[in-house]
């Protein structure tokens, strides 16, 4: 379910970054990350706000009031990484932050989790330093012997499923046939390979349009309409579950 496609390494920065309110990002993450991988740290809106305050996500938004903060596509991927590290690696948040800060400086990028592949263990996050060594983020640059470490570590890309060594992700598929790409509809969920937002389809169907009519209007299948409605219903249900508030957003 957590599928992320990759882009060529030469694409260093997006001109279009995606734009999400923390509650929208949380909705996508709650639905897109398998349940068993978010038991320790569910990516709720409140938790995402906390991660922003800590400087783990969207460091540029940290000084803004909560309601004005937005996340971009890199933050969406970083939030997945943080959730997965807390679950699989059982890493403490302060260690994750230490590793993120170290790699941000070392690699010269603000959001390294969305740009590079890493190796993780229960207590460390490392990346390949050269042919024989890994460098630790938690231990601020300490080197370890690759051949000894790799058997006891996991590769982050195997959880996120973006191609190793291929740079940053291009899109995320939180559910079958639904994708988020930073340059399509401002990063919001669309039917795969289209620019038809799932929220628009949900809005028509919940406004009283028949699914067949919407399918015919957009030139898509009835299955795609149902899939979009189901996904949006799941996002709203998941958000309502963690916030206690029935959330309907555009």
């Amino acid at each position: 379910m957590v599928a992320v496609a990759a882009v060529p390494t030469e694409r260093e920065s997006y001109q279009y970054e995606g734009l999400y309110a923390p509650s929208e990002a949380a909705g996508y993450l709650l639905v897109g990350i398998p349940n068993e991988l978010q038991q320790r740290a569910r990516p709720t809106p409140r938790r995402l706000q906390g991660w922003i305050r800590e400087g783990l996500l969207a460091p540029e938004e940290r000084v803004l009031p909560g309601r004005e903060r937005t996340l971009d596509f890199d933050d969406l991927i970083s939030a997945q990484v943080i959730t997965l590290l807390q679950q699989r690696g059982e890493m403490r948040l302060r260690d994750i932050k230490r590793a993120e800060n170290y790699f941000a400086k070392e690699l010269g990028v603000a959001k390294p989790f969305a740009r590079h592949d890493f190796w993780y263990s229960r207590s460390d996050l490392m990346r390949e330093y050269d042919e024989t060594s890994l460098v630790s983020g938690v231990r601020a640059g300490q080197l370890g012997v690759k051949d000894l470490l790799i058997p006891i570590m996991g590769r982050l890309s195997s959880l996120l499923r973006f191609e190793s060594g291929s740079g940053r992700p291009l899109e995320w598929e939180p559910a079958e046939g639904i994708t988020l790409a930073p340059d399509i509809q401002f990063g919001h969920a669309c039917l795969k390979d289209t620019r038809i937002p799932t929220s628009a389809i949900w809005s028509y169907v919940h406004g009283g349009d028949r699914e067949e009519f919407i399918a015919e209007s957009y030139g898509i299948s009835g299955d795609e309409v149902s899939r979009a409605v189901r996904f949006e219903d799941e996002v709203r249900r998941a958000l309502a579950e963690v916030t206690g508030v029935s959330t309907v957003s555009d």
């Binding site: 620019r195 209007s217 957009y218």
Partner: protein, 145 residues
């Protein structure tokens, strides 16, 4: 000079957050509207990126109608650079059917068309709510010169 009784005079691009069937209905009533798939001559299954839309609107003299206000924040620089007028349509949180959307768009586009005519030489970014009728709120005004 456009009036509230006649269809809008200038061409509009209806983005995919809005129902292509509504665009078709407006066209049948002599409105000059196009959808993204028509403009780029692609099937609904082919994706067009946001950054392709704005320059194309500028090149073809189209006014962009979209339902997502986030476009403004994300594409501020590109919208200014290409001097594209945009109408942001807000969608009610509980859902909106196509029939209502047709009434909303017909009303909003006509008013927006009049605003643009009255402010010739300006590029406008406006927002309209989901009420019927809803006033047009000017978010940004840029002089072409």
């Amino acid at each position: 000079m456009p009036s509230l009784r006649s269809p809008a005079s200038r061409p509009f691009l209806i983005d995919h957050q809005l129902n292509p069937a509504v665009a078709k209905a407006l066209r049948e009533a002599d409105w000059n509207v196009r959808t993204v798939t028509e403009l780029f001559n692609v099937s609904p299954q082919q994706k067009i990126t946001d950054q392709e839309i704005i320059p194309r609107c500028a090149a073809d003299g189209l006014t962009w109608v979209t339902a997502d206000i986030r476009a403004r924040a994300q594409h501020r620089r590109l919208l200014r650079e290409h001097l594209v007028s945009v109408l942001f349509v807000r969608r009610p949180p509980t859902g909106m059917n196509s029939r209502y959307e047709l009434a909303l768009l017909a009303n909003a586009i006509r008013h927006f068309d009049i605003c643009l005519e009255q402010e010739k030489g300006s590029v406008l970014q406006c927002r309209v709510g989901w009420g019927l009728p809803s006033p047009i709120e000017v978010l940004e005004r840029i002089r072409r010169d």
